[in-house]
Assembly symmetry: C3
Homo-oligomer: 255 residues x 3
């Protein structure tokens, strides 16, 4: 039971995802190899590498060792590299070297990084997902390995500053503040400052365990990935507060 | 060929669905077991248990005996139970006990209900889909069974009053009036009253067999599930009429 | 490893896709047959046969010989035929005979066309995807063939006039002008006229290889399918220009 997953910003309204699946299946068939193709997400916000990086972090670690293709690739056709990253626990990550794998390799550790020789695949200049990454993913499934020029490091997103790293479809605001950095206790009230485009917002939130505990108030909680998340039950916290990706976040007080 | 299906309101823009698939595959792999993971829907309207219940009704009965995980769970982390329902024809339904399975068990019949002992799974307080339901689903595939405390009944949605139980993406208004309750004949005109938030709407519709037969007029028809549906060809009946979930419906006259 | 793909305008918010998958799996199980069910797209714009035809063109040719079910079917229940088309390279296409297969058979060639005898399947009048096409698709997988009345031709979309045949989710405007018809060279500026509902638009675009090369200007490029596409990097060209499906396109000058 081999597994290959797909994460893209292509949406499910186009033929792009189908073309990638077709390529993978065509190569597998030629080599008489079977594998499961698993959709992780195709609705990553267009060109949003942060969003993609968070989706990968919140899904890949739960898989058994697998091949994961990720294509959020605003500068396809430019000089950015294409890479295969093998993690310490045996996952293969395939995609553009643009920061997309920052969070997941932070968690899983890097065993090796291989630069994909794009010219080998004779790609179109606009669709490397189909012409390179799908083919590379299938080749890894067939060979249980991938060979090529080794790189020493990958491009990474700045993950030092405390800030908003994701806004989910429910409008929940996810920060890169981890549970280990938190000093307040359950059911205490906390003041959190977020620097938005329209000025600083100071939010009073109760620190709770579950979404429904906040009633009409803003809440914060440690989400299922261990990050501090600001939320409002059955409402859209991000829209209410005008908060966006990469806004800086600061815990200013425990009340 | 074992089958496990997923129905959620998580959307395809997040890592949530991927995390559930990863957990399932990781457990299956550990037990050297193969199964198909099938997406039913991940775009159930957020927190809308009625919508979820209708999606399950309109899909599960067409499957061969399978495991079906459903997660529309606004009060995750509260005291609501988590359950496994075995239907009379051998389906296993896994999810929160909040009414989600009302319509599908009405149709398929209940063989037994088992309360999931959540503490066994050491879940996060916000993501039982990944931490409990995915694991329980995989366990059922492996053991062909699920053991635990038996319950006598499940939470059910009120399905007695005649009303709107679903509005589909095309704006078609689906009621819980069944074909057996209908006295009018094809191509008769019917007056239907719907109590909306903005007052009663009296709709004159022709009773037809296919959507295209109405031209510019409202139509009603027995949909592919046997329910009375109010619709307008190539238009959005629900928006035109201001009709919402749970609005009461009454057939007031056959013209 | 047999493959059956699904392309619909049903969306992922309904039970429709699940019902089709259930029917397929139920029939396969009965015949002790295994196959992969692959989602190509379920977000084709509602009733938009042009959109569906383009999605099929951009995905099906990359698959190994497979069964492909496509349901964009505004006039379900009318007199339009249902068909199975076998392509020269061994794909089976299953769906309504309404033009949906125009582009893909133009590329792959037709071996034979079989009219589906709908009455054999006792379908509901509103959901042939589940009641006919899913069943026919499964039957093809089981029998490696499909028998029935032969037709001489299928309904086709007009593909002679040069025009907009698709607008993708990024707002890129895809025309049916092929790379072989283009006389300009890379990095030349081109004037393109599009007849929109709000009058003619004359667009100056640089002819580039990759999206990112245009900066703030409109660009045109040969997309990964070999069609001329008008685009703006990180912006929505179709919205900016007010361009819609089927608007006529003319290259008026090379600057």
């Amino acid at each position: 039971m081999d597994i290959i997953t797909l994460t893209t910003d292509f949406g499910f309204s186009e033929g792009y995802v189908g073309a990638m699946k077709g390529r993978i299946l065509e190569i597998l068939k030629k080599h008489n190899k079977d594998a499961k193709i698993i959709d992780i997400s195709h609705e990553v916000r267009q060109f949003n590498i942060y969003h993609g990086a968070y989706v990968l972090l919140t899904s890949i670690p739960y898989f058994p060792p697998s091949v994961h293709i990720a294509v959020i690739d605003p500068t396809v056709g430019s000089e950015r590299n294409s890479i295969v990253v093998e993690t310490k626990n045996g996952h293969y990550l395939v995609g553009p070297d643009n920061g997309l794998f920052t969070y997941v390799v932070e968690r899983l550790g890097i065993k090796r990084i291989i630069k994909i020789d794009e010219s080998k695949y004779n790609p179109s200049s606009t669709f490397h997902g189909r012409d390179i990454y799908a083919v590379v993913g299938a080749e890894i499934l067939i060979n249980n390995d991938y060979e090529g020029e080794k790189l020493k490091s990958i491009v990474t997103l700045d993950n030092e500053k405390k800030r908003v790293i994701h806004i989910d479809r429910f409008g929940n605001i996810i920060t890169n503040i981890k549970s280990s950095e938190i000093k307040f206790k359950y059911y205490e009230d906390v003041l959190i400052k977020i620097k938005t485009k329209n000025g600083d917002k100071i939010i009073k939130c109760k620190f709770v365990k579950s979404y429904f505990e906040g009633g009409d108030n803003f809440i914060c909680l440690i989400n299922s990935e261990g990050f501090l998340e600001i939320s409002k039950f059955m409402d859209n916290a991000s829209k209410l507060l005008g908060v966006d990706y990469l806004d800086e976040v600061e815990i200013i007080n425990i009340l």
